[in-house]
């Protein structure tokens, strides 16, 4: 509407004004809502967190500046240590098991024409189901008195009589298993798409050279999907340090902090114990790790990786 009136006025000044409007103002008006929301929801409160991390604050009243006290406490805190180690374990599990399963599934699925769509959909279904429901499904299956463990034990597999979510030795791995069950199919679909984008002539050449299927995978498929693979590795590290839903829903970090991770400890210190400053310090420490990974991501992109 404004454009039409400016376009109507010919003359040099009109045209310059139109130019300023087109190049300098209009694009910012269109991107404005996104920027405003981002500042209000993400950037502003994040800066707030960085400030509160140096204070003692209960959420109401004024915050009291305490310098590095929260971080000093964090370094010496037993629960923080447990949580951090659990996040590292989680990262290692998710970097190996689901990525291997995703590669296996997609490599087996790639040569298949009949029913490929069906398999893709079947593997993807758990990924679209809410975490609340997925955890409910597995809480029943792994139930200590009615679940699969008891059933298998009754049929002779005595060692399966385990309270999967109730004992400190198994709880973290059990939750990781449930989370992976809903996650690996997503990787299959992702890797499959990457494999299908590989130039078929490369496979042809490999076959003429007499490559086995293993060699084909090693020398054609793997290099072809490398950007996607690296992307999922970086994302896995970030998400492993942010994991919250499946742990909070299944155990809230228990029993006795055995499945505690940084995000559950942060959540509890902020909203159960009202130690907002300390919670903010945990948040800052989590962001630090994520920033390192994102920096790696940016460096790879600068070097021309298409990820």
């Amino acid at each position: 509407m404004r454009d039409r009136s400016t376009q109507a006025s010919y003359g040099l000044r009109g045209r310059t004004r139109l130019r300023v409007w087109r190049k300098g103002i209009l694009p910012w008006l269109f991107v404005g809502p996104l920027l405003l929301l981002n500042v209000a929801i993400i950037l502003g409160p994040s800066v707030g967190s960085a400030y509160y991390a140096f204070t003692k604050w209960s959420g109401i009243g004024p915050a009291q500046w305490v310098g590095l006290a929260n971080f000093r406490r964090l370094v010496g805190d037993r629960v923080y240590h447990i949580a951090f180690v659990n996040n590292v374990k989680w990262t290692l599990i998710f970097l190996t098991v689901p990525i291997t399963m995703g590669l296996l599934g997609s490599a087996l699925l790639a040569p298949i024409k009949k029913g490929q769509m069906f398999f893709r959909i079947a593997y993807f279904v758990p990924y679209v189901i809410a975490s609340v429901v997925n955890t409910q499904i597995w809480r029943n299956i792994l139930h200590p008195t009615r679940g699969i463990g008891v059933l298998l034990a009754e049929r002779g597999l005595k060692f399966m009589d385990v309270t999967f979510l109730g004992s400190r030795g198994t709880v973290l791995y059990t939750i990781a298993f449930v989370d992976m069950w809903h996650w690996w199919g997503f990787l299959v679909v992702l890797y499959l798409a990457a494999m299908q984008a590989i130039n078929p002539q490369l496979y042809e050449a490999a076959r003429i050279e007499g490559a086995s299927r293993g060699q084909e995978f090693r020398y054609v498929t793997l290099p072809g999907i490398l950007p996607t693979l690296v992307f999922t590795v970086l994302m896995t590290i970030i998400w492993s340090f942010l994991v919250f839903d499946y742990i909070y829903l299944l155990t809230q970090g228990g029993p006795a902090h055995a499945s505690e991770v940084l995000s559950t400890e942060l959540f509890k210190s902020a909203f159960f114990r009202f130690e907002v400053g300390y919670a903010a310090a945990i948040g800052v420490s989590m962001s630090f790790i994520c920033t390192l990974v994102v920096a790696g991501f940016v460096i790879l992109r600068k070097r021309g990786w298409e990820i």
Partner: protein, 285 residues
């Protein structure tokens, strides 16, 4: 494609696909059997789920679990809340992200690449970093226990992803289309509405589905910002319901099925858009 693949593939390869099918079918069972146990349990009496906790119902099908769970779980309230949150989030995100993508892809926003990088970094940061101060800010503004309060948060957290997705669609539009409209004297907003949106509506559909799925399933912000019973969406209310009726698997399973039913139906009917959006949106950043 088919001709070349027939020529390329020797007969022996086709035969050797049998082991592939065997493993792939085992993986399908791994993926779907747990969901089947949920369906089975939703149709059993509590007594039967005790004796037969994993298999299909044998002593008759109990549909009654569904209406009972609907009433006991306050589904008329929670479905309404979740529908408002989901639709409000989708509508807002599509407008916000659509305009932003238009600015970045077509209006040549100066520094668009820098902005994209900033958004990417922002989406990789832990929600817990900004959630705590945001909670106390929202409390001050009266936006906790308020559906709009949560919708605004989802606008902020979900718009960057939709922006990346829509931007990748818009970059692919030929220049001629936009120029033709401008010669007619249309404003940028009119070009956006009349030219861009109709051409890339599949992009909007995909972005809308991904956003809607995220809003419907979301748990962390919902459990933090909505406490009052009459404001809870399905996700957090189901969590409380499962806790309260933990002995009654028939009821809790029926309640769970009701939460995922619309998602599954929509996913199966629009699976191509869902899969494309969920797998490629992040990659196209």
């Amino acid at each position: 494609m088919t001709v070349s693949s027939v020529l390329r593939r020797p007969r022996a390869r086709t035969v050797s696909l049998l082991p592939n099918y065997v493993v792939l079918i085992l993986l399908v069972l791994f993926s779907l059997l747990p969901i089947c146990t949920l369906l089975f349990n939703s149709l059993k009496t509590t007594a039967e789920s005790r004796l037969n906790p994993l298999g299909p119902p044998v002593s008759g099908i109990r549909w009654q679990n569904y209406p009972t769970a609907w009433v006991q779980g306050h589904y008329s309230t929670t479905v309404r809340n979740s529908a408002i949150i989901t639709l409000g989030t989708v509508a807002g995100v599509l407008i916000i992200a659509g305009l932003a993508a238009y600015s970045m892809a077509i209006l040549d926003l100066p520094g668009a690449d820098g902005l994209a990088l900033y958004l990417l970094v922002g989406t990789s940061m832990p929600a817990q970093l900004f959630m705590v101060p945001l909670f106390f800010l929202w409390t001050k503004l009266g936006l906790t226990d308020n559906l709009l309060g949560v919708i605004i948060i989802y606008w902020g957290t979900m718009s960057p992803f939709a922006t990346f997705l829509l931007r990748s669609y818009m970059v692919a539009i030929p220049e001629d289309f936009k120029d033709a409209a401008r010669v007619d004297g249309a404003s940028e907003l009119q070009v956006f509405r009349r030219i861009i949106v109709p051409i890339i509506w599949p992009g909007f559909l995909t972005a809308g589905l991904v956003t809607g799925l995220g809003a419907w399933n979301e748990f962390l912000f919902a459990v933090t910002f909505l406490h009052r019973e009459e404001m809870k969406p399905i996700s957090t209310s189901l969590y409380a319901f499962v806790d309260r009726y933990s002995r009654d698997w028939g009821l809790t399973s029926a309640a769970s099925v009701m939460m995922i039913l619309p998602v599954i139906v929509l996913f199966l009917s629009l699976q191509r858009q869902f899969i494309e959006g969920l797998t490629q949106g992040g990659l196209k950043a």
